[in-house]
Every structure is written in structure tokens, then in C-alpha cells.
Amino acid sequence: MVTGLFNYWIVVILMMAGLYIVMSSGHLVKKIIGLNIFQTSVFIFFISMGKVSGGTAPILKDGISVFSNPLPHVLILTAIVVGVATTALGLAISVRIYEAYGTVEEDEISDMDKENRQRETSVSTVVLDKQ
């Protein structure tokens, strides 16, 4: 059992490490790194599913009859592309955040936002009272 499932367990640990980075890190770029790791681990999981012991890469050649399953490979090719697209967009947004706030630390940003909102609400209540 241990040998049969060992591979999956490793993947789970990797996934969780990635997820942990995403959720615990305060630095936006590091969050994206975490996302990347999380996704890549899921990819490894998919590919592990498709492996057949003793099989080879799914390319037709004479004399070979046992192949690994090509379908997960296709799915993961697509998923990798999705991943890099997300990464690029995420980075673009964090760059813009940096330009707008001067920082990419989540805590600092939310502090600034909080101040902002307090100002807005206080202004609006004052005006409403006046009316």
C-alpha cells in the first residue's frame, strides 16, 4: 500500500505547501508563486494517474504496445497554459498595485484601504446629517 500510494502522498504534501504559501503569505508575488506550486502539484497528480507501469511515452513506434495514457497529458498541457496565463495576469495586476499603492504587502494595502473607506463613510454621514 505504501509504495502504491506513496506517490500520491508526496503530491498532496506539495499541494498543501503551495496552498499554504498562497494563504499565509502577505506578499502578493509570493502568493502567485504559491499558486504556481499548487497548480503544478495538481499537474503531477494528473500525470501520475496516467502512468502505466512498464509503459512508454504515448508515441506510436513499431514494437511497443504498452503506453501511458495520453489523455491526462493533454489535459495537463492545457492546464499548464492556463496556469501561466493566470500567472502573467496576476503579476500584471500586482505591478499595477505596486504603482498605485507603493507596496505589494497585503497588510499594508488593506490598512490603506481601511483608512480610505473610513474617510468616505465619515464624509457621507456628515453630509447626510446636514441634510
Binding site: T3, G4, F6, N7, Y8, W9, I10, V12, I13, L14, M16, A17, L19, Y20, M23, S25, G26, H27, L28, V29, I33, N36, I37, T40, F43, I44, I47, S48, M49, G50, V52, A57, P58, I59, L60, K61, F67, S68, P70, L71, P72, H73, V74, I76, L77, I80, V81, G83, V84, T86, T87, L91, A92, S94, V95, R96, Y98, E99, V104, E105
Partner: protein
């Protein structure tokens, strides 16, 4: 080892190193993919994870700074709890999974055999991944091209490339990184040597996808990384002169349209969307040419998108 790498990343505050480690992680996973017979995936992961993503990260870090701050303890407890819960669910699930590598697992029984046994006759290319990717699940791949294109539009809308007139007409401020690279003669020489073969290699990957690992996507990324290499060494301005962003911005759209055009052509010929078989009198030829053209479409889209995104990101740091 791969686990160790990840834990190092968890702890790291120096983001530069974290990114490097991430690239390393990608490279390792790509090795794992290789071991697991997923050559195409390994190829892609190496090109994208270790290549393109890392470069994007570096370009972004150049703007936002390289260190992250430690957070308070309380803020890390909640995520930890969530992560552990999720992990437990996953581990719980694994107990009912077929053992790794089992040949008679259901996954290998139902749909896959047809790909394995008949794709050679039905579609043609010996590389089954290509057949599935481009033909059986060509619609997914079309969607994938759509994802890349969407990301491109997103980055362009947010950061803008070429539209800012920054690259060409603005006087280049002294940039430490670029300057220092230029002076390193060894690097330059090596790069000069590399660029041409890699370009050719990318074309090979593009056209050879039918037979070996590779295809439009990998080719596109490799092509793009050549340009990025060029830009890193000679500076972004000459690179942009070579590939003016304004014109480059048309290419992703063109690639996507090329892909769709094949599909629409097959609709016009009386088949379903992306049914290449009807394109030619002989369905085999139809499949063959259809796949070639859509791979080209993907290649164009991906290469242009990657270069564009890199330009957009690095332009900002100028």
C-alpha cells in the same frame, strides 16, 4: 528533494531566491513528468514553468522589490488549519485510489484505448498526445488558445505595450541590469551563438509535433524565450525595434483566427466545427493539414503573447 525545495520556498523571504527556487521546482517536476512518460508535458513544463514564468516573475520583481515581510503568527494559523483540513481530505481519498501504475485502473479502460489503438488510423500522427490535443479534443485546445489570448488582452489593458510609447521614443534611462549585461562579453558571445540554433530548434519543434514531443505551444514558448534572451542582453529597445509591440499585438489575434478559420472551413465543408477530416478528399490528409495549421495558429499566438507580456512587464521597470 522536490519536497525540500518547496519548503525552502515557504520559508524564504528573499523573493529573488524564491523565484529561482520555483524555477528549480518546475525543472524538477518536468523531470518527474519525463519519468512518468509524459514527454510533451515535461517539455512544456520546462519551457513554461522554468522558462517563461520565471522570466515573468523576475521582470515583475524588478518592479515591486525583492523582499517580503514576515507576518504575525496569528495570521498564519488560519491558513494552516485550512491547509491541514484539505490535506486530510485528500489523503483520505487516496486510500481508495488504484495503486500507482496499475494498468487495469479504470482510467485506462474506457476512453483511452481508442486513442491508443485507433488514433494512428483515424487521425494520423504517431504522437498520440498530438492527436488527442489537436483533433479529438481540439475544442479544448481552441479554448486554451483563448485563455492565452485573454491573458494577453488582460496584460495589455492593464499595463499596455507599445501604446505607452515608452519603448521606442522615450529616452532610455540608465538601467543597471541591462547595461551590465551588455558589458559581459562572454554572455554576449554565448548568446549570439545560441540564438540562431534555438530559433531553428523552435521551428523544428513546431513542425515536428506530429512525430515527437512538441507542437505549437512549446515552439511558441521557445521562440519567445529567444527574443527574451535577446532583449535581456541587448536591451529591450533593440528587441522592440526588431518586434515593434504595436505590430506584434496583432499576432495573437491572428493566430487565434487562424485556428478558428480551420474550424469554420470544416463547417463550411459540411462537417462539424474543427472536423478536419472533411477538409480534404482523403480524411487522413485533412486531419494532417488541419493539425498542422492549428498548431501554427497556436504557435503564433503563444509566441506573440509571451513576447508581448514580457515587453509589457519589463517596460514598466525602465
Amino acid at each position: 528533494m522536490i519536497v525540500a525545495t518547496v519548503f525552502i520556498i515557504v520559508k524564504l523571504d528573499r523573493l529573488m531566491t524564491a523565484v529561482m527556487m520555483m524555477g528549480f521546482f518546475s525543472l524538477l517536476s518536468s523531470c518527474i513528468f519525463m519519468i512518468l512518460d509524459a514527454v510533451d508535458v515535461a517539455f512544456t513544463e520546462a519551457a513554461v514553468g522554468a522558462g517563461a514564468s520565471t522570466i515573468f516573475f523576475l521582470a515583475a520583481l524588478a518592479i515591486v522589490g525583492r523582499t517580503s515581510k514576515k507576518r504575525k503568527k496569528e495570521k498564519t494559523l488560519m491558513p494552516l488549519a485550512v491547509v491541514i483540513c484539505t490535506g486530510v481530505v485528500l489523503i483520505y481519498a487516496t486510500f481508495d485510489m488504484p495503486y500507482f501504475g496499475t494498468a487495469d485502473a479504470p482510467i485506462h479502460q474506457h476512453v483511452a484505448p481508442r486513442y491508443l489503438q485507433e488514433s494512428g488510423d483515424e487521425v494520423g500522427p504517431p504522437n498520440m498526445v498530438t492527436s488527442v490535443l489537436a483533433s479529438y479534443r481540439g475544442y479544448d485546445t481552441f479554448g486554451e488558445a483563448g485563455v492565452v489570448f485573454t491573458a494577453f488582452i488582460g496584460v495589455l489593458l492593464l499595463l499596455g505595450a507599445g501604446t505607452r510609447k515608452s519603448g521606442l521614443e522615450r529616452p532610455v534611462p540608465p538601467n543597471v541590469k541591462v547595461e551590465s549585461m551588455r558589458q559581459k562579453i562572454v554572455l554576449r558571445e554565448v548568446a549570439d551563438l545560441l540564438i540562431a540554433p534555438v530559433l531553428i530548434f523552435s521551428l523544428y519543434v513546431q513542425w515536428h509535433g506530429d512525430y515527437g514531443p512538441g507542437g505549437g505551444f512549446q515552439a511558441g514558448v521557445i521562440f519567445a524565450s529567444v527574443i527574451v534572451l535577446y532583449a535581456l542582453i541587448y536591451g529591450i529597445v533593440p528587441a522592440q525595434q526588431l518586434f515593434p509591440p504595436r505590430k506584434l499585438a496583432y499576432f495573437p489575434a491572428l493566430g487565434l483566427l487562424l485556428y478558428a478559420a480551420v474550424g469554420i472551413a470544416s463547417m463550411a465543408m459540411g462537417g462539424n466545427f474543427l472536423d478536419y477530416g472533411v477538409l480534404m478528399p482523403d480524411p487522413h490528409d485533412g486531419q494532417h493539414y488541419g493539425i498542422l495549421i492549428i498548431e501554427l495558429g497556436i504557435g503564433i499566438t503563444v509566441a506573440a503573447v509571451m513576447i508581448n507580456i514580457f515587453f509589457s512587464l519589463s517596460e514598466r521597470s525602465l
